[in-house]
Symmetry: C2
DNA sequence: TTGAAAGCGGTACCAG
DNA sequence: CTGGTACCGCTTTCAA
């Protein structure tokens, strides 16, 4: 099976050295003569020596694995993040274990359990929409497992965070709608408990308030499962449309909600933007092909994955305990098209 | 670090048994008295015993890891496949190592090298558009590494394959275009060397021939990188439009090509389907929102991931060498919308 | 600077 | 049915 790799013992025998000498030479230890180190290294590379990672893991209690916790792989935004994660992880020779929880708290817990069993060296986490109790993460973190949160984060655990400028993104989009002349701007957003919802809502409210428009709670609708089920988007939309003064513009707070809402609006025979304008957070790769071309708030998803992974690997490989943590905030880009 | 798991030795000490007895009891070996087996199992579950996977791997030379080789994670089709792979792998307690090669042969080889170093138990492979020489896979396969190919496959290695009914999908779409009255049907497809290109082209040609339309080679354009670079789509499209008799309909053979072509057609000020009709392979989740709503050939991507993973795990866990291999062909669904 | 040996956590063979 | 022990491949004390 596999390539029958040569081991340290083979090298030792061939060179008439002890195992330990070979091991030290390969790691470039200082307590080794230049000559033997060179000899060993030469022999090793000539014979394509590759350390057995399982043996190393067993010994060092380091698996060189990173666990990824997120809701759904085929979600455009997360797929792009994953691509960024992969690009860094692979260059630094970390292996990825990817789990998806489909916005279920229960699956998140179960996946986490599995990941720790696999003894990952660190965790990249974006919380599920259902998650409020984060003790499963807290416990691991307290035991010393490095964690970096991205996108949907929590302040209850002291560690690095990489997020989008959700406040700014929502603020800009809402301001844009206001400047376009829309008066009754509603929003359909994700579940109330996750960070991105709070922040996007803040940006939305800030923009309204600054423009002297009263925030109307009837114009704010939540999708407990982040739009994973189309029904929750539909009922949110229906409630909005049945308002005495139905909204003339809509800010949608995620890929799934944006697409779902557009699709439903069309099904109801309404026209965008004539009947209702739509601007949404979305990382679709072709929003200009939509009918009408969609005004989107685009996030730096690939970048987010790269930065989070970089930070995590720093944590994992740091010799001394890290005590100061960063909160990286990535810019959004508002791309105005004819849906608004 | 991590949960300080209890080991077999701890159990042995606590119960005054030998390591081997405990080990056997846990694996449900027959040569163990009912009484001790029960006792051990009880103690183990009471103390949350979890076998150390690294130790097991080292001993058994099985990593319980599956390596995935594909071109790009954020590609809709592959993201869906991945989701299917994850769903099976996770249930069967396999870990995924995902690599992307961005359609580069060189990266594919390098990734593969890394995967084998990681000593994966098996491989799920979809070839890059650049790949013609598959000796890197062949060598591993000859050494006994289980491999299942999906989507972009090769017949040069005797193993399971899971593919889309590309011939049928392209045939149906082309026939549909013919029936709609289009006379000059062109196709922009992926690189000539990969299986899906050949098959989709066959389906396209079959449909034309059956309807007594001559196959015109000037109407067949390739994208060597599967449309990864927009320039290759653009030059393909330009050449088509500059034909003496430019096509009145276009069959696009992948997600990226479909989106890219639509986008370029629009940029050129042409209208779909008035100036040129478009039907394409695509797993976008909202083709009905496009302008115009897009006629698509949808593949069973999630299903493909599930089946491929199932087959691979069967291969991995099979006691006796497997000699008969399956070629699973998954149906496509032609969804007619107004772009044709 | 080098070598011998213990041990990481399991598994499996050989005795009894 | 159970215990003892060698070993998977590598790292790391402890001696020399």
């Amino acid at each position: 099976m596999k390539t029958d790799n040569i081991t340290i013992k083979d090298i030792a025998k061939a060179l008439n050295l002890s195992y330990s000498t070979v091991s030290r030479a390969l790691k470039g230890s200082y307590k080794i003569s230049e000559a033997t180190r060179e000899m060993v290294k030469q022999y090793a590379s000539a014979h394509h020596y590759r350390p057995n990672l399982m043996a190393q893991s067993l010994k060092n209690k380091k698996s060189h694995c990173i666990g990824v916790v997120l809701c759904s792989i085929p979600n455009n935004f997360f797929a792009e993040v994953l691509s960024g994660i992969e690009s860094i992880a692979y260059n630094k020779d970390y292996l990825l274990i990817i789990t998806q929880n489909l916005e279920s708290y229960e699956r998140e817990v179960r996946n986490l359990d599995n990941l720790t069993w696999r003894s990952v060296d660190g965790l990249l986490v974006s919380l599920s929409t259902e998650t409020t109790d984060i003790s499963h993460f807290k416990q691991l973190h307290d035991q010393g497992l490095p964690i970096v949160f991205f996108d949907r984060v929590t302040d209850a655990i002291q560690t690095h965070q990489v997020i989008t400028d959700n406040i700014g993104g929502a603020y800009n989009a809402t301001s844009h709608l206001i400047e376009r002349g829309y008066k009754r701007i509603a929003t359909i957003t994700s579940s109330p408990q996750i960070s991105i919802t709070r922040e996007r809502l803040d940006g939305y409210k800030n923009a309204l308030t600054e423009h002297n428009i009263a925030v109307n709670d009837r114009y704010i609708k939540y999708c407990p499962h982040g739009g994973m089920m189309i029904e929750e988007i539909e009922s949110a939309l229906d409630e909005l449309l049945q308002c005495p003064e139905p909204p003339d513009a809509l800010l949608t707070a995620s890929d799934r909600i944006t697409i779902g809402a557009c699709s439903l609006i069309r099904k109801k025979g309404l026209q965008i933007p004539r009947d209702i304008a739509v601007a949404g957070f979305s990382n679709f790769n072709a929003p200009e092909l939509f009918d009408p071309p969609l005004t989107t708030i685009r996030q730096s998803a690939f970048e987010m994955g790269k930065i989070a992974t970089d930070l995590l690997i720093q944590l994992i490989e740091s010799k001394r305990p890290v005590t100061s943590f960063e909160k990286k905030v990535l810019p959004t880009e508002l791309i105005v098209r004819s849906s608004t």
